[in-house]
Symmetry: C2
Subunit: 315 residues, 2 copies
């Protein structure tokens, strides 16, 4: 059982608290706004019963998981004897620099200092710290208590030991860490999401397909297999001789298409009018919030399904 | 109830037969190899009970669905009074030209002639046919009885009426048609798969991530939401003000990344050694076939889950 500090208790921080507490760890929440942790814990109390109903609390009662969390206003107290710090402050490099300087100063030398940033490279806010070898990024997809994948990203000076420790800690909390070999803008997941979105915007901008057509192609098509195999295993199973056979048979199709993918369309240009009009027809703005609740329910049901299928059919 | 001819009864043709028969249609199977339809029907008989067990036969008994299919060696008989022809012969433009000439000659003028091709544009094999206005592509992801998305693609001379009729027919069979406005190499789905794979191969080739890291990022990350929302709805719900707000907040990240996505890596180059080594470590070649069976079971369980979630939580 580890002691985990959550620094910044907005949507990402509170979600991390659930994920780590479910794994049995002791969680302390801290925020620059002293009233924020209490609001975060209220939110957590609303989520835990739904997770229990979907058998996503490792068999624990909601109250037991909630009992592993506490709020603390004094940062020195928060960081005392801490094993893992998960930082979730705004995506501003100056703020991160200030926060990481405080964390590095006060946390025990053995603690891992992990940032949840999606947009900043770890080298951009840890270079001048004494303990920079234990600083890294652990980037989740929200909410981490429903999405196992996390990116563990080193700065050039992050130690192997810190990377190994962070990855092992994530695995022990039920996460699936992507352990990057070196930092890269967009990490892995935003780069892959970006690649897909660039083509999606291009298809709509050039009038070949609608927004809904693109979503159908993924939601009722490609992402079904991707959701339990990923793209490499998918192509490995899509030719009798595996991935080499697939590449030999089909690369020519993809290389023929690629030149038309080299230029990007400005997402904020004319295409955005069409994209927004299509989306607002499908979902009026006033229903966005309800739809987010729906999304989280679907995601929870899918997580429960995948867990059952892993057991019944195999991983 | 329509009469459907399946022309070519390999893996795609036999899977279409299941999809159309499940929808209540009468199916006639034909193949240039006269022994092939019987083998296809044997295969179908193996699949139907599993579909029934997952409640994926619209409540019908396997024997009832099987009873809607028959094999016929005489092509004239096959095409008599047919409403929809689904062609699944090899991906060779000369073969398609010959087959479509025969089909156009013998099928009633009211019948839709649909090719399952993934690699050829419909204009490349239908231009000189008298009935070219009723020729189009209906491209599935295999197997269509588990994957709703299909691409309906016109040649420049395909009539609006034929497109509307084909799309309606697909919807009535439980499919989700992507109705393309004009033909395009790779259609929609292979283009999106290509965009993702290009980045996946680049990440592995440049040493940032392993094959398994990429698959984790999709299978335990991005594709969870994509599997019930698609990429546009995903970003629409990922900013408080919807898709416009998302683009305003985050496009700069993606446009910054894009220049490093302009050049493609040769998938068959050095990277393939690493990709193949990683895949064969994860799954030895002699287990590829077993894993394909696993994949189809997982896909079936996911289809059943999605159907339940559509009802219980909403679509």
């Amino acid at each position: 059982m580890a002691r985990v500090a959550i620094i910044g208790t907005g949507f990402i921080g509170r979600a991390w608290a659930i994920s780590y507490a479910r794994a049995g760890h002791d969680i302390v929440l801290w925020d620059a706004d002293a009233s924020a942790p209490a609001a975060a814990l209220d939110y957590v109390e609303g989520v835990l019963p739904e997770l229990a109903a979907n058998d996503l609390l490792n068999g624990a009662e909601p109250a037991t998981v909630r009992g592993r969390m506490s709020a603390e206003a004094n940062l020195g107290e928060v960081l005392k004897d801490v094993d893992h710090v998960q930082e979730n402050t705004p995506e501003d490099v100056e703020i991160k620099k200030t926060v990481f300087a405080m964390l590095d100063e006060a946390a025990p030398a053995s603690a891992i200092l992990a940032s949840s940033t999606s947009a900043l490279l770890p080298s951009s806010f840890t270079e001048h710290l004494k303990g920079r070898a234990r600083c890294l990024v652990v980037h989740p997809i929200n909410p981490p208590y429903l999405v196992p994948a996390v990116e563990v990203v080193p700065a050039p000076w992050t130690s192997e030991e810190a990377m190994t420790k962070a990855a092992a800690f994530m695995r022990s909390a039920g996460h699936a860490p992507i352990v990057m070999k070196k930092e890269l803008d967009g990490f892995v997941m935003n780069r892959m999401q970006g690649a897909l979105l660039e083509e999606a915007f291009r298809l709509v901008a050039s009038g070949y397909a609608t927004v809904e057509d693109v979503d159908i192609g993924i939601r009722e098509g490609l992402a079904l297999r991707w959701s339990f195999m990923g793209p490499f295993e998918t192509i490995d199973l899509n030719a009798p001789g595996g991935v080499r056979d697939y590449v030999e048979r089909y690369q020519s199709i993809y290389s023929r298409i690629h030149p038309s993918m080299r230029d990007r369309v400005d997402w904020a240009g004319d295409v955005l009018k069409d994209v927004e009009a299509d989306r607002r027809r499908a979902l009026p703005a006033e229903r966005l919030k309800d739809r987010q609740v729906w999304r989280d329910r679907r995601l929870m049901a899918l997580a429960a399904h995948k867990r059952r299928a892993d057991t019944d059919i195999g991983k």
